[in-house]
Amino acid sequence: MKRALVVDDSPSVRQQVGLALRQAGFDVVEAADGAEGAERIGADPTIAVVICDVNMPRMNGLEMLEKVKADAANARLPVLMLTSEGHPALIERAKKAGAKGWIVKPFKADLLVAAVKKLVA
């Protein structure tokens, strides 16, 4: 069972993403902001994929992405951004930092699950 980390400051979004992924057979762990997300990634090498919001307190999703990807150990860890943001400059920044995809909220659970499965295949 692959482990997915969901990073979002909204408990309901974490819950909805978690339910969709659990129904698809993933083991899901959660973090409430970028700082906690980065910590969890550093502490848990079994995390196979990260689904990360952008706008979050303490550390936003792009900062977390850049911090995590600065560590060579996470070079192959797929990160999927899930956000209400859609500005091309932010998408480009995420791409440059090493994100594997960008989904605009509100997301369609089927498409999210398909994207996550593709990333861990």
Binding site: P11, S12, P57, W102, K105, P106, A109, V113
Partner: protein
């Protein structure tokens, strides 16, 4: 006078934003809780449906077998084979018994013939003993030993005759009994044959019933899987719809940003000088800045 109005405007904005933030937290907290309850219900529906399908799958695996365990169909087949083997064995033994009984009749006839020969020999021995006794009488004292032998021969002849009669009687009894044994064996063979035929018909019905049961359970599982896939799909749709809460929360937090902008503008008024520090930070940081919910691109997946 103007200072007083400016100050009141600033105070009003502070108060308005405080109350607004309080209400936003209440509304967001409430909708968050409700949405999460709804999502949990959706998850429970999927779990219940999944459990039902899993039980049908278990039932089918019991029927089909697997994982080193024989299925019911296989067990029934084995049982049918075992009973058929047993019935065949009984039939063969009955046939052999019938044949052995027929052979035994022939053997008892041989014994009867042998008994008749022995009876003739016994008669001859008896005559010989009588002759020896006559000869012993004629020789008087000198024939004493002859007399003893004649006596022994006569006793032997009688014993042989008695034993022979017994053998002859046993042979006749056996001859009379063996056809009954052969008849019983014949009946047993016929009974075993009838049982085999009836059992074969019943076994066929059982096999058909088992196959039918397999089909029903497999159909139920197929429908169950399809239904479960639908339940999961609808649950995903429900989860997608439940995200209105996130959009509502962000919308309210953006209004907070607008009020904050008004506060910052009011803080530039001379009467509010030095009070900018009292203005609270935005409720929710947004690095992309203020923008409406883009329903056109919502749900779009962009893979790099």
């Amino acid at each position: 006078m103007t200072d007083g109005i400016e100050q009141r405007v600033f105070e009003q904005l502070l108060s308005l934003r405080g109350r607004f933030q309080q209400r936003v937290r209440e509304v967001n907290g409430m909708t968050e809780r409700e949405v999460m309850s709804a999502a949990e219900s959706v998850a429970r529906i999927v779990e219940v449906a999944g459990g039902h399908v899993a039980r049908v799958r278990d039932a089918l695996s019991v029927l089909r077998g697997g994982g080193g365990r024989a299925g019911i169909g296989t067990l029934i087949h084995r049982q049918i084979d075992a009973v058929e083997d047993y019935a065949r064995d009984v039939r063969e033994r009955a046939t052999r018994l019938q044949s052995d009984a027929t052979s035994a009749v022939a053997h008892t006839q041989d014994i009867s013939r042998a008994a008749r020969s022995i009876a003739a020999l016994s008669q001859e021995a008896h005559i010989l003993a009588l002759n020896a006794r006559i000869e012993a009488g004629r020789l008087s004292e000198r024939g004493a030993s002859f007399r003893v032998i004649a006596g022994e021969m006569q006793r032997l002849s009688k014993t042989i005759a008695t034993t022979n009669e017994l053998i002859d009687q046993l042979s006749r009894d056996l001859t009379a009994l063996l056809p009954a044994i052969a008849g019983s064996a014949d009946g047993m063979e016929a009974l075993a044959s009838t049982f085999s035929e009836r059992f074969a018909a019943s076994a066929h019905d059982v096999e058909q019933g088992t196959e039918e049961m397999h089909r029903y359970v497999a159909d139920a599982l197929e429908h169950g899987d399809a239904s479960l896939a639908q339940v999961v799909r609808h649950s995903h749709e429900s989860l997608s719809h439940l995200q209105f809460q996130d959009a509502v929360a962000q919308g309210l937090q953006r209004i907070d940003d607008w009020i904050r902008d008004a506060q910052l503008a009011a803080a530039e008024l001379p009467a509010a000088e030095g009070r900018a520090a009292e203005i609270a930070a935005p409720m929710h940081p947004e690095i992309g800045g203020d923008k409406p919910v883009d329903l056109e691109t919502a749900g779009d997946v962009l893979m790099f």
